[in-house]
């Protein structure tokens, strides 16, 4: 449980990183300048260190040489040159020890001869409290095993009860007149001052470096902000424009690139707004026109319709010609009404005024209702209409009125073209879609025809007699209804092999359809050929 917030936080940071130009620019600038200043700092520190140490070593070597020279002089002037080696050693060593105590360096006198290969001296005299094993580097003693020249090296000086400190050790060789043996005098000079100076310089440079980084970060952020802020504003305005707030504009300040970007952006927005307004206006006019035509045409048509009905009801009292005229008036009024209704429906689609009222619709119910409603027509044509559906409901979120209209259209068409053979209505569903396929075994369609059946006022054979008095708009309206649902309406046909129309609706409105639960080409297609 404790681990879950971590990836979330990481993801949030990642998103922030990907989205924020400022963050990326600041971070990369800071990293780059940190690398450069670290390099420069390292070189500077190195040089300072070398300079300091060189200086110190020169001084120290000079001082050691001077001490050694003074000691040699002292030894030569000592009376009674024979025998008393211990006295001469004291004579040699004690003044240097005193000087060292005064000047702050330690002294070690190493007797000649080495105990073993490790280089640990056999016998030594040194400043009291000095840890010789640690402070006296063996490399220096080994040098004196083979050579007599003055030598120096760095070391760590350790005294009892005191922390280690860096130092320089200088060694010189002195021949004691008493035993004519070479003694090594080692001077251990501490480098604490230099160390302190170096630490001070390092601290100062680190502080300066950190401050520099902060400065760089702030500067970069400020500079980036100047560019990014207008870009962000432009983004926000663009988003609002996209959301339909067409009056949104960018503020134009100055004459720089960003200002010119804003100006162009605003021009684009203004053009868009004008175009959209124009389209909206056209659409509104169109809708208004449809509504007006609807009212203006329908009212007189109602009167004519009623009058026609009254005449039709009374036709038995007319002479045969007038009676027939009344009948014709009646049937043609039906057609006129159907055509008007279809035209108005199409105009409504064209104006984008058609709206969906969705609920869960069971396509099996729809199929059965439609088949029941078209029973009369089917009986007239001697066509059997069969429904094949799974026992469970085939649900789709749809506008039941429109779906029923589509299916009614498909079934009526199928009955019209079935040539007295059976019409099969199949219903199927899966978890993403539901489908109805209407199959007839009539004259069928060619491939080009099946592509054109949905065109307005299209007829398979212009010379063919109208049978059910369709308006020629039925399939176009069915197609528009299907599009409104985000569904598919497809036709398959084979000349002589009948045809199949398949309606597929997504389970939820707005879901994208990927496949249909029913095949477009019926399984019995090959058999029929």
């Amino acid at each position: 449980m404790a681990r879950t917030p971590l990836p979330q936080a990481a993801a949030r940071w990642l998103t922030f990183w990907r989205r924020s130009i400022a963050a990326r620019v600041v971070a990369s600038t800071v990293i780059l300048s940190a690398l450069v200043s670290a390099g420069v700092g390292w070189v500077l520190l190195q040089q300072t260190r070398e300079g300091l140490l060189d200086q110190r070593v020169k001084t120290v070597v000079a001082e050691a040489s001077a001490e050694t020279a003074a000691a040699r002089t002292r030894l030569q002037s000592v009376p009674g040159t024979s025998g008393d080696a211990a006295g001469q050693r004291r004579e040699l060593f004690d003044p240097i020890l005193d000087r060292g105590r005064l000047r702050g360096f330690d002294v070690v006198l190493v007797s000649p001869g080495v105990a073993d290969d490790t280089g640990v001296p056999l016998q030594t005299y040194s400043t009291p409290g000095l840890d010789l094993e640690k402070s006296l580097p063996p490399s220096l003693l080994q040098h004196f095993a083979s050579s007599g020249t003055t030598a120096w090296t760095y070391t760590t000086i350790r005294r009892d009860g005191q922390p280690d400190q860096p130092g320089v050790v200088v060694g010189s060789r002195v021949i004691l007149p008493a035993d004519n043996e070479p003694y090594t005098v080692c001077y251990l000079f501490p480098l604490q001052d230099e160390e302190d100076t170096l630490a001070l310089v390092t601290r100062a440079m680190l502080t300066a470096g950190l401050l520099l980084m902060v400065l760089v970060a702030v500067l970069t952020w400020l500079v980036t902000r100047q560019v990014v802020t207008p870009v962000r504003m432009a983004r926000r305005v663009a988003e609002r424009l996209a959301a339909g707030q067409l009056q949104e504009r960018l503020r134009v300040r100055g004459e720089d690139d960003l200002a010119r970007l804003a100006t162009s952006f605003n021009q684009m927005a203004a053009n868009l707004q004008r175009q959209i307004r124009l389209l909206e206006e056209l659409s509104r006019v169109q809708r208004r026109f449809v509504s007006d035509v609807s009212h203006e045409l329908r009212t007189p048509l109602t009167t004519v319709r009623m009058a026609g009905d009254v005449l039709h009801d009374a036709r038995e009292s007319f002479d045969p010609a007038t009676a027939r005229a009344a009948e014709l008036l009646q049937t043609e009024l039906d057609r006129f009404e159907g055509l008007l209704a279809d035209l108005l429906e199409i105009s409504r689609f064209d104006a984008g005024a058609a709206a969906l009222e969705t609920e869960d619709v069971n396509l099996t119910d729809v199929a059965q209702r439609v088949v029941a409603a078209t029973q009369v027509l089917a009986d007239q044509r001697g066509v059997r209409v069969l429904v094949e559906a799974p026992p469970e409901p085939c649900l789709a979120e749809a506008d039941v009125r429109r779906v029923e209209r589509i299916v009614r259209n498909l079934v009526t068409n199928a009955i019209d073209h079935a040539e007295s053979r059976d019409v099969l209505v199949r219903v199927a569903h899966d978890d993403q879609a539901a489908a109805i396929a209407v199959r007839d075994h009539g004259v069928g369609l060619s491939a080009e025809e099946s592509a054109m059946v949905f065109n307005r006022f299209w007829r398979a054979d212009p010379a063919r007699a109208r049978t059910s008095g369709g308006t020629g708009l039925g399939l176009s309206i069915a197609m528009e209804d299907t599009h409104l649902h985000g569904g598919w309406l497809q036709a398959w046909g084979e000349p002589g092999g009948g045809s199949q129309f398949r309606l597929t609706l997504p389970r939820k409105v707005g879901d994208e359809l990927r496949h249909s639960p029913l095949p477009l080409v019926p399984e019995d297609a090959e058999v029929a050929v």
Binding site: T302, M306, A307, V310, L340, E357, L395
Partner: protein, 238 residues
């Protein structure tokens, strides 16, 4: 429609009186002819702003109301009449658009018919509205905390009377008689409106909304008229 062939049960002696509110003179006259043939008395009012006066004067059993009227819009006329009477109102509309229909129904109309209509269809609708539901005895029904006096045509909650139009009353009684049954919109259309088959279930939806606004404590969470998702409506448990 066979529903239209039953004779009005209200009063067999009197002819039904219908007020036609329509500004189109030809249509109004034609409506008069057809209605007279079918055994109704009718009176025409051509202006929206005169409709209420004509209504008070004529005491019709039903109002045929055009939506587009000079003087006062049909919707407003509908509201005015509904404010003082529960007399059935059937709208004549030239627009089949959902919005117009719903606005009309919400303003208080019981039914609507889209122009151009067949005279027989119109007469069937009129008969269905003038005819009352067959009365099954004079029992008292109970839905939730509502008490329905079927014979007395009254609904009370505690001591408070709830004012319903005859159509809303029929709808409530229809549901309350069989509280165990879920009614599909189609069944309700047939039993309450007297349609045999019609795909337009918006009529039911709008009237259920209106009924709820009058009888529910909280119309957002109905307890009297309960929606059964994907099926229809039922009366809430008592």
């Amino acid at each position: 429609m066979t529903a239209g062939s039953t004779t009005p049960t209200t009063d067999p002696g009197a002819r039904g009186r219908i007020l036609v509110v329509d500004d189109d003179a030809s249509l109004a006259e034609m409506l008069g002819i057809v209605l007279r043939q079918e055994g109704f008395d009718s009176q025409v009012c051509a202006r929206g702003d005169e409709a209420l006066a004509a209504f008070r004067d004529y005491h019709p059993d039903l109002v045929l109301l055009d939506l587009m009227l000079p003087g006062l819009d049909g919707i407003d006329v509908c509201k005015e009449i509904r404010a003082e009477s529960g007399v059935p109102i059937v709208m004549l509309t030239a627009k089949g658009d959902t919005l117009d229909v719903v606005v009309g129904l919400e303003s208080g109309a019981d039914d609507y018919i889209v122009k151009p209509f067949k005279p027989k269809e119109l007469v069937a609708r009129i008969r269905a509205r003038v005819r009352r539901l067959p009365e099954h005895g004079s029992d008292m029904l109970k839905v939730g905390d509502l008490l329905i006096d079927v014979a007395g045509h009254a609904v009370t909650r505690g001591d408070e009377p709830v004012n319903l139009t005859p159509l809303e009353f029929d709808l409530l009684v229809c549901l309350a008689r069989k509280p165990w049954q879920v009614f599909t919109r189609e069944v309700l259309l047939e039993q309450v409106w007297g349609y045999r088959h019609s795909a337009d279930t918006r009529l039911v939806n709008v009237h259920v909304q209106r009924l709820r606004s009058k009888v529910e404590h909280d119309p957002e969470r109905p307890e009297i008229v309960v929606t059964v998702r994907g099926v229809g409506y039922k009366a809430g448990s008592a």
